[in-house]
């Protein structure tokens, strides 16, 4: 957008990274930035220079250009051994510690890799039920969050820095008054809480302050799932689906592949039935009904893009067809009747092995319908289990709007906010902020000096998850102890410590609080040796046998009647339906200051550093809009300005507004990126709102997009076929690698590293890309540089549309370096900076690179990336957070995927030290390790029994652009779609 009111304020506020030079020169603090980017040049501008000095500086710059090869050349450094070496620390060897991360209160187990005591990389915890060894993009990026220098680290009072002791004094004083009044006026606002310790602490507070009111609020909650269960079963429940057991899956705008608690596990289970060459006729079939494309929709064999009311109608029709609702529903007229009937027939056929999964965004009635269908299909106990909600709903207070009412009525005089940034995420019709300002004492525990911190009296910086002790429950109830990976910097405190302060502990100790809770619990459970129990829980990353018990429960007897009484949500005929959706990576905005996540291409739009109003091609055409137009969205009298992005696969007349952008206050990375869709979101319609009017404004928006062209244009990049065709003729691809060459083939007698990527399994979640960025020190380049096509991700996930753009099918294709045996890049390098090693890996020697960029030009896969500027040096992450095993690249050198050469080489050294060969699976690349669906397999292709050899023996194996005779070591397994024969090929167009 052209005139950004916040821009000048941002410019004043401090360093902004990743700007373009032209902008730098305009801004008042040019020198500050110039000093960072071009030290010698800044010095030049700073002093009143004489000619001699100028020459010196110029000469120095020239000299540096030549000498400063990769990072510092040989600069002698001091070495400081420990005074007393801590046990277990070996310089040059990494260690792993288990902990867990939480989102929406649900935990996912992780292992944190430490190098010389520094946490450096996040891996999934294979023992944790929600991880199984995988991580999400957000999980991978949490390490950057930990090192983010812009997280708050000082207590502030009314915006001014205050000592921690002043805060404790204030709390102690208030506590005296509160004790006297038995807690009248004390309110607690939390997010979803699953932490047993925190729940216990809240319980204790309630005993101390019986009048305490506890409110719960999440910007993006799972309330509708629970409400749906309430409708269907008469009580709130969490559902635990088993996608490995399902033959036919119906995903109703489902988040099971991207954000539902346990999604990593679901993705693993789902993929286990999708790798066609392995499961053959047991391949599952996935249908998707959705208003805005999701990863599940992208992976679906048949997908219908429907507006929310149409989804409800479709669900009713399905319910009628499978016997879960009145049979006249099955006969109701409506669009897509044929398709829905075919789906219903397929579901019926798969009785006992069918599963309907409804996304968190859907109306409670849709959830109830889903439950009814599942019940009718016999899913319970087969593909679906029910447990008590992992996060118990609060017993008294209620929601944020209740709190706002209470505050407005003056009933709250002390407010403790543990929830994440309610000022930013509160419903637009709530006026939470004004009510908040009336509270005599408000305390906010938040990671950033954000919008909420600005509106409260006391802001206490919250510790990062890797800085504090806590515990958290996973989607199935399993508890993990969260242990700190490093000491918090500055005055950061955890929620446990803050609440303990209110319980009268003057110097609360997070570790003691958590440990005491568990000691008590262990006593109750009579585990015997607590130390062993505790150590085991920490080491394994889970507390054993804490998964919730499955409940055998029947739907309410009057479910059918209840469903009948539900009519579709009241919709207005005029205008568009607005869909509010969490951003794939920023979620509700809490990760807005994370450069990795900002710069990760959104799986479907491929946008970075931006959100946009997503419109279907047909709707955009009807409104006379195209991508990059700027519109004003009017919804119930509220206005927002947003750029338009035309997204194939979007339901017509629906506009999706991703949440989490337009942050006014966070770190400098996230401020002012995109527009704030929360400004349109109301209590009544948190997910869908109808009646939006779009008005085109002048001007165009400049997006930073990672991928411009979305179609393969008939090229054989992604090979695919149908399951039926594959079963009939497994070699239907007819792909035979060319072996002809003018020159004799180069032999690789030892290890031959190779990779296979299964396109059926890839769900486009970008965990691998983030993992690669974390492992390989890829810098963040910033919005401007991305818009100039200079992003630095070594691995990218191409998203292609197939078929008509109105109802496309989607394909995800991860593209790392192909490690061609006949590498075209190597031949054109004039200085041997990229050559082969004896394992057949195309190595990139940064320190030898002079930067001709010919290699990138000559790479048909375009997987090479160039340091046009000194991106690493201008990256604000602290030095100690870079992976010491990987060179940090300097300006002017090329870089690319190395098959994680630091991992292969370390493993080879260990094996060589022991005079043995490498075992299969001993080396796992970062992308492979993070992948929830095991789409990526890496290993020695000379070992006939290795996993990668087995994958490559698949009849579906092919090399992308193999006709160029590049002989890539990275090959793909072709995409197989399991089509319903009754529906034909949706790529040929959906006609209702």
């Amino acid at each position: 957008m052209t005139d950004d009111p916040d821009k000048s304020r941002r410019e004043r506020r401090g360093p902004i990274f990743w700007r373009r030079i032209e902008e730098l020169a305009d801004s008042p603090d040019f020198l500050e930035r110039a000093r960072r980017e071009f030290p010698s040049f800044a010095a030049l501008a700073e002093r009143s220079v004489d000619r001699r000095r100028f020459l010196q500086l110029t000469a120095a710059s020239m000299a540096l250009m030549g000498l400063a090869a990769c990072g510092a050349e040989v600069v002698p450094r001091d070495r400081q051994p420990y005074v007393a070496q801590p046990p277990g620390i070996v310089p040059g060897r990494s260690r792993y510690f288990a902990t867990a991360t939480a989102l929406q209160g649900y935990g996912t187990g992780v292992l944190v890799k430490h190098e010389m005591g520094r946490p450096l990389k996040i891996e999934g915890n294979p023992d944790h039920p929600a991880s199984l060894g995988a991580t999400s993009a957000i999980g991978q990026a949490s390490i950057l969050e930990l090192y983010n220098p812009f997280r708050a680290d000082t207590v502030t009072r009314d915006g001014a820095i205050a000592p921690w002791s002043a805060f404790t004094t204030a709390v102690i004083e208030r506590r005296r008054a509160l004790l006297a009044s038995r807690g009248r006026g004390l309110a607690l606002l939390t997010g979803t809480v699953t932490s047993p310790t925190l729940l216990a602490q809240i319980g204790e507070l309630r005993r101390e302050y019986p009048a305490l009111t506890w409110y719960q609020w999440e910007a993006i909650d799972r309330g509708r799932t629970h409400a749906g269960a309430q409708l269907a079963y008469g009580r709130a429940l969490d559902l635990v689906p088993d996608f490995a057991a399902a033959d036919v899956i119906l995903a109703v705008e489902s988040d099971f592949l991207e954000s539902a608690p346990g999604h990593l596990r679901f993705a693993r289970e789902f993929a286990s039935r999708r790798r066609a060459a392995e499961v053959k006729e047991r391949m599952s079939r996935l249908y998707a009904l959705e208003s805005t494309p999701t990863l599940a929709g992208a992976k679906a064999d048949h997908r219908l893009a429907l507006a929310p009311p149409a989804i409800a109608a479709a669900m009713r029709r399905l319910a009628g067809s499978v016997g879960a609702g009145p049979s006249e529903w099955a006969r109701a007229a409506g669009p897509h009747a044929q398709t829905l009937d075919a789906i219903a027939a397929d579901l019926r056929r798969a009785k006992g092995r069918a599963l309907v999964h409804v996304g968190a965004s859907q109306e409670a009635s849709v959830h109830a319908l889903g439950a009814a269908i599942n019940h009718a299909l016999g899913a319970h106990g087969q593909t679906l289990a029910m447990i008590d909600p992992v996060a118990p709903p609060p017993q008294d207070g209620g929601s944020l709007s209740d709190l706002t009412d209470a505050m407005s009525r003056g009933q709250v005089d002390t407010l403790i906010i543990l929830a994440d940034n309610p000022v930013y995420g509160a419903a637009a019709d709530l006026d939470f902020t004004r009510a908040l300002r009336t509270v005599p004492l408000s305390i906010y525990l938040g990671e950033y000096a954000d919008e909420t911190a600005e509106a409260v009296h006391w802001h206490v910086p919250r510790t990062h998850e890797y800085e504090a002790w806590s515990d958290v429950r996973a989607f199935d109830g399993t508890i993990s102890i969260q242990q700190p990976q490093m000491l918090p910097r500055g005055e950061r405190h955890s929620a446990h410590e803050l609440l303990a302060l209110f319980s009268g502990q003057i110097t609360p100790d997070g570790r003691a609080i958590v440990q005491e809770y568990w000691q008590a619990r262990a006593r109750d459970a009579a585990v015997g040796n607590f130390d062993a129990y505790w150590t085991d829980a920490l080491r394994a990353g889970i507390v054993r046998d804490t998964a919730a018990r499955r409940i055998d429960i029947q739907p309410r007897a009057d479910l059918a009647r209840t469903l009948e009484s539900l009519d579709g949500a009241a919709t207005r005929a005029d205008g568009l339906t607005v869909l509010f959706r969490p951003d794939s990576y920023l979620w509700d905005g809490r990760f807005a200051d994370n450069g990795w996540l900002q710069e990760m291409g959104r799986p479907l739009t491929r946008l970075t550093w931006d959100n946009a109003a997503l419109l279907s091609p047909r709707t955009a055409r009807r409104l006379g809009l195209e991508t990059a137009d700027v519109v004003e969205i009017r919804l119930d009298g509220r206005l927002a300005r947003a750029p338009v992005w035309v997204l194939p696969g979007q339901a017509d007349d629906c506009v999706t507004l991703p949440l989490g952008y337009g942050r006014r206050r966070t770190g400098p990375v996230g401020e002012g990126v995109g527009f704030n869709a929360f400004e349109l979101r109301t209590r009544a319609s948190p997910w869908h709102a109808s009646g939006a009017i779009l008005r085109k404004l002048d001007g165009r928006h400049e997006f930073a997009v990672i991928q411009h062209e979305g179609r393969t244009l008939g090229r054989d990049l992604v090979r695919e076929g149908s399951l039926a065709g594959f079963l009939k003729n497994p070699r239907f691809l007819g792909y035979a690698p060319s072996r002809e060459s003018l020159y004799p083939s180069h032999p690789y007698p030892g290890i031959a590293w190779a990779m296979s990527i299964n396109l059926d399994a890839c769900i486009g979640c970008h965990a691998c890309v983030t993992a690669c960025q974390a492992e390989n020190n890829s810098p963040v380049v910033g919005r401007t540089e991305v818009s100039r096509n200079r992003e630095m991700h070594w691995l990218r996930i191409d998203r292609y549309y197939e078929g008509p753009l109105e109802s496309p099918e989607l394909v995800f294709q991860p593209v790392p370096c192909m490690q061609c045996e006949n590498a075209p890049c190597e031949v054109v390098c004039p200085v041997h900076a990229t050559v082969h090693d004896s394992q057949g890996v195309n190595v990139m020697v940064y320190n030898r690179c002079v930067g001709t960029r010919f290699c990138s030009n000559n790479c048909p896969y375009k997987v090479r990336h160039f340091n046009f500027f000194d991106y690493s040096a201008s990256d604000p992450r602290p030095r100690e957070s870079w992976n010491p095993e990987v060179t940090v690249r300097a300006r002017g050198v090329m870089e690319k995927c190395t098959y994680c050469v630091q991992r292969t080489r370390t493993a080879m050294i260990i094996a060589d030290r022991e005079n043995r060969g490498i075992r299969d699976g001993e080396v796992v690349t970062a992308c492979q390790q993070a992948c929830p669906t095991q789409a990526i397999v890496f290993g020695d292709q000379n070992d006939r029994h290795s996993a990668v050899s087995r994958r490559k023996a698949s009849p579906l194996d092919y090399a992308m652009l193999g006709e160029l005779n590049t002989r890539p070591r990275t090959t793909y397994e072709a995409l197989i779609r399991n089509r319903n024969p009754a529906l034909g090929d949706p790529a040929e167009g959906e006609h209702a």
Binding site: R79, P91, R93, D837, V843, T887, R905, D912
Partner: protein, 230 residues
């Protein structure tokens, strides 16, 4: 054609422009030019090879004038007593102050020279040793594999056992690394001799070739770029 003159002035020759001495100057100039060119070539090839550049025998001033000669050759302390991770990690490990104090809490307890060590222990502040061997950030050297393959400490660290003060014994140039990586045989020794600072090849020593076979060393893979550059 303005200003063009067809008039020729008859002159008495042009000897006035250049005297006979000019030829001498030209000859001197030519010789200097050739010499200059040769010097330039010598310079660009020679300067990097000069001691000024490679800093061999560089002996930085250390907080404590630690003598390997005294501790290794004199007292017979094994390398691994202090550099304890050398066999199983990339980094050989610098001894923590406590390692020094295992002995020096008993012997030379009042030596002035050891004051920094005692202060380090007392103040829990690490000793700051000056690095003698420094590799650029893009070179990843692993001690353990060299030890495991029979490359003795002295191959790179020189006569470390006889150094009263530690100095840089080798150039650490890439060409120096490559010389051994391309032809490792002459630099190998039996495993039991790896930590022996005074070891020398005898008639009984297995030949480099035999050791290479024993250690499974394949020199054709050793000069892969990715062996050192990641």
């Amino acid at each position: 054609m303005l200003g063009v003159s067809h008039q020729f002035r008859r002159t008495e020759g042009m000897a006035a422009i250049f005297s006979r001495r000019a030829n001498l100057f030209v000859q001197i100039g030519l010789v200097l030019f050739v010499l200059g060119a040769v010097c330039f070539l010598l310079l660009i090839w020679g300067v990097p090879l000069m001691n000024y550049n490679d800093q061999v025998s560089f002996t930085p001033r250390q907080p404590v004038p630690f003598s390997h000669k005294h501790h290794v050759s004199g007292l017979g302390i094994d390398c691994r007593y202090c550099h304890d991770s050398v066999e199983y990690a990339s980094n050989a490990g610098m001894p923590p102050t406590e390692t020094c104090m295992t002995c020096h809490s008993q012997v030379w307890t009042n030596a002035a020279i050891l004051e920094p060590v005692r202060r380090s222990l007392a103040e829990r502040k690490p000793l700051r040793w000056r690095s003698v061997y420094t590799l650029p950030d893009y070179v990843f050297f692993d001690h353990s594999i060299h030890i495991a393959k029979g490359v003795g400490c002295t191959e790179c660290h020189g006569p470390i056992g006889d150094m009263p003060l530690t100095y840089k014994a080798t150039t650490l140039y890439m060409s120096w690394c490559l010389a051994c990586h391309r032809n490792p045989a002459p630099h190998l020794r039996p495993l039991q001799a790896v930590f022996d600072p005074h070891w020398h090849r005898t008639a009984a020593t297995p030949s480099g070739k035999e050791l290479m076979a024993l250690y499974h060393i394949h020199p054709q893979t050793l000069s892969d770029c990715s062996v050192c550059h990641r």
